[in-house]
Amino acid sequence: MGETVTRSSKEITGGVHTPRQHDSAHKHVTGAAEYIDDMVEPAGTLHAYLGLSERANAVVKSMDLEAVRNAPGVVGVLTAADVPGENDLSPTHRHDEPVLADGQSAFYGQPIFAVIAETREQARRAATLARVDYEDRPHHTDVVSAMEAGYPHVTDPLQLSNGDAESALSSATNRLSGEMRIGGQDHFYLEGHIAMAIPGEDDEVTVFSSTQHPSEIQHMVAQALGTVSNAVTVHTRRMGGGFGGKETQGNQFAAVAAIAAKRWNRAVKIRPDRDDDMIATGKRHDFHVAYDVAYDDDGRIEALDAVFAARCGFSSDLSGPVTDRALFHCDNCYFLPNVRLRSRPMKTDTVSNTAFRGFGGPQGKIGGERVIEEIAYALGKDPLEVRKANFYGIGERNVTPYHQVVEDNIIHRIVEELEESSDYQARRQSVLDHNAKGGVLRKGISLTPVKFGISFTATWFNQAGALVHIYQDGSIHLNHGGTEMGQGLNTKVAQVVADEFQVDIETIRITATNTGKVPNTSATAASSGSDLNGMAAANACEQIKTRLVAYASEHFGVPQEQVTFVPNHVQVGNQLIPFHELVRQAYTHRVQLSAAGFYKTPKIHWNRETGQGRPFFYYAYGASVSEVTIDTLTGEYHVDRVDILQDVGKSLNPAIDLGQVQGAFVQGMGWLTTEELWWDGNGRLRTHAPSTYKIPLASDKPKEFNVELANWSTNKERTIRRSKAVGEPPFMLANSVLEALSMAVASVADYRECPRLDAPATPERILMAVERLKQG
């Protein structure tokens, strides 16, 4: 939009706290939004494809790649020996994750070579022609069998403790113990992994990557090429979904494309097909939880001792922080006066598991909720009553197992309001009445709360940069270190900039994330995108505003406090000057109209050795009520109604936040219901396509779905415009679906027994639980 348009001096478009649509929405609906596979390919672009191993744990005795090399269109083949730099992609620098496996297959489907050909079709066909000779070794794909076999941890375990769990357990009023299995989850981003590398001069290369972490891609590509970071530029405009699956897992594709691009001095693109994407890239960690709990007759927890073991796969990847976060979140909203929590990040002969929305938090929470459920069934109480009895207090009973004090607790109000608005008590009674009549169809209802800690637990990741330019015509160029994967981050940050300068959002152009513009960025992860990048952009704006104010004050001879930014104008004393006009004048008076902004989260610190600190800046809260119906003859079920109340602080964009809550809930529901990962006896993932792996469909979403944001909430901490993070917290609202299913199952034995329903609660698992309970 040209600056000849007369802009309103009354209000701006797209300011903060308004429901602005996604900045790319008009392109999404026409198919014009460009994903990497849609980009015009440079002349002579080559295509790479990965060759995957076919053993879970084996020595690769020999690889005969002659047929691959001789296949039509093949330009060359890369193996571990062809990696010019370090053959390692470990994001934590543990040297346990090769670009291409070297002499060993650590999981069924590990990339062992890459073939480069004139077309993708040729590369893909050629990749099937390798003859590999393996020497098999015993393998363990399951976390329990890995523990029994004495497998090592892929990274150091964590222990959190407070009080004296051991003696409190031995003097328990009541005590019970049990275990739970929690399945993993494939990200199923609709756009699979993809990278395109274009060679440059000297050792330079530009990589277009579908990644949540351009800076890490830059670092890994440089390391694999044996060069330094300033030789590598990474560019990410948008992803077709990420969900954590593109935090570290894009490294492999980017590295292979870059190595090939430099080797053959041609652009190289790599896009695995869906099966290979699901086989060769990591997923949400499966967990096994063992718990031992002491509680009083009201259901109040006296002590908890729990071990959270995770299927990490063959390498560490992000399993350390993921399993840490599981421990950080198993308390959920509940005070544990005496507690000992231990993580066991187990090595398994499977793909290396990775980040996925919630990052261990969901597994921690669902394990913790199982404990609540056990207590409730043991005492014959509504689990909600037990939950409330254990809520963190205000000013007392408020210390977490990692010794952070919960200072911003609003869970009481959230739950109280949701209980009321969803008519929980009356509906629970009618569910009980329905089930009391017997019959094949049984119902269940559950209300579960969420408290989720916001910040990267690795404190140094909590920093961000932004780059803002104002051009002479008053148009604004915005860049920041976050990446856009559909979550609306770019829109929110642009709203912040619009608000800072008090200009219409159309004045601002959001530009692709690029390591050459903002360096040393953190992954767009941990729900931190708008918190960090919004603040960094605001900081850049403040710097420019300070210069503009100083200029206007001096030039027009008015005190600085009389220079203010009003909608699309600057008020200078009695004069109202259009924004673009002031900018033009400032340029001619040699005012710098560009700034690099920076932000680091205050207050946070964490000592992993002592298990104490304040890892989280604040908490986001929420609660949900789910009502379900199961068929006790088939195990099939429907989610009939869901009510949600989610705290997003003072929302930057209520429309986008609402979408995040709805989407996260349904994704969480998929994790706990139909999404089942299954490995066969050879350690081969058999659920590697949508034909065998079922994510929720439109017909699966709750029939009635009432989602509200807690519009009274505001962040107690000084976050960007007092908003709260929204990406991950609502994922765990889906916990109420599993518990509602559990209640429906429990009805067949008159609720005497906790069904101990593992996740995912597939129809098969529901049916088995019903049969088990019926037999007593």
Partner: protein, 159 residues
């Protein structure tokens, strides 16, 4: 193996005569022709991101061979945008925030439009069922169903 076959496909109203490999999928064919709004998601015919119209009926671009469409009319999201037939759906998707990453959106729009052509006043259950061949991993479908329901109402009022 059979060599390339000469075919003529009318894409968004413009005939294109090309020599193509018999195994080339319609989705890959269209993308190579520059119609990149046809997205390739699963290549199994499940996710629906490659949904296009062949002679007015929606089809999976990944399960249809280009050679099967010899002599037929194919419409992609670019064509549907150009002739304005989904303009109201596009507006409603934007207004309702019925998209996030946008990868499923073109296919979702064509599937929704097909439903509304067949059924002028679908129930929410019918909308959900009809859209169940199109994955969306971001939105949880609520806003999509809202948008389609809104357009159904608008179209009913217009007629």
């Amino acid at each position: 193996m059979t060599g390339p076959l000469a075919i003529t496909i009318t894409i968004n109203g413009e005939p294109a005569t090309r020599a193509v490999e018999p195994r080339l999928s319609l989705a890959d064919f269209l993308r190579a022709e520059g119609f990149t709004g046809t997205h390739v998601g699963c290549e199994h015919g499940v996710c629906g991101a490659c949904t296009i119209r062949v002679d007015g009926r929606t089809a999976r671009g990944c399960l249809t061979l280009a050679v099967q469409c010899d002599g037929l009319e194919v419409e992609t999201i670019e064509g549907a945008t150009g002739n304005g037939c989904v303009a109201d759906l596009q507006d409603a998707f934007i207004e309702n925030n019925a998209l996030q990453c946008g990868f499923c959106t073109p296919g979702m729009l064509l599937t929704a439009d097909e439903l509304l052509q067949e059924n002028v006043s679908p129930t929410r259950t019918e909308i959900r069922e009809h859209l169940s061949g199109n994955y969306c991993r971001c939105t949880g479908y609520q806003a999509i169903v809202d948008a389609v329901e809104q357009v159904a109402r608008q179209r009913a009022e217009r007629t």
